[in-house]
Symmetry: C2
């Protein structure tokens, strides 16, 4: 998954050891998994060359990072101009988030 | 690596099969590897759940994506508050880009 971090979410990530982002749509701190329980336990942190991107290696509680129930948000591959879902859902979003 | 794409760079990527980005600092199309020769041959394209991020699986010509000569731009790991370089340089940036 890709998420946005500001200074507050970065600090919270370091402090708690769980991935925290900043929701630009909701304008609030977003502890990943706060609703679903599928938090991300941070194992390693890498910083890129120009220091404007962070790569978190995490343990994904529940096995799926994506709100659609797939392991990865990148669950669709472009094939001949169409997006084709790959892999299986780990959970049913209706059961986790409600209808 | 992480790069920004606009519609033009996305179209160019699909058309050429090589990763193209949009340089927001230089305000121009950026064919990755145009200077170093280390182009990225696109093998697979994944699109994320909310369709605002793209994951390219690529063959990295020259073995290094980063202008620093490391395989990945994420070559430094945070360890006890310090960034520690991991792995070895694939090339010497001075030889590729000049002094």
């Amino acid at each position: 998954m890709v998420g946005y971090m500001n200074a507050e979410s970065w600090g919270k990530t370091l402090e708690t050891g769980k991935a925290c982002f900043w929701s630009r749509s909701r304008k609030k701190l977003w502890v990943k998994g706060e609703t679903s329980g599928n938090v991300q336990i941070v194992k390693e942190i890498y910083v890129d060359c120009d220091q404007d991107a962070i790569l978190l290696k995490i343990e994904q509680v529940g096995g799926a990072a994506c709100h659609t129930g797939y392991r990865s948000c990148f669950f669709r591959r472009l094939e001949k101009g169409k997006l084709i879902a790959k892999g299986q859902r780990v959970f049913d979003p209706k059961e986790v988030y409600g209808e």
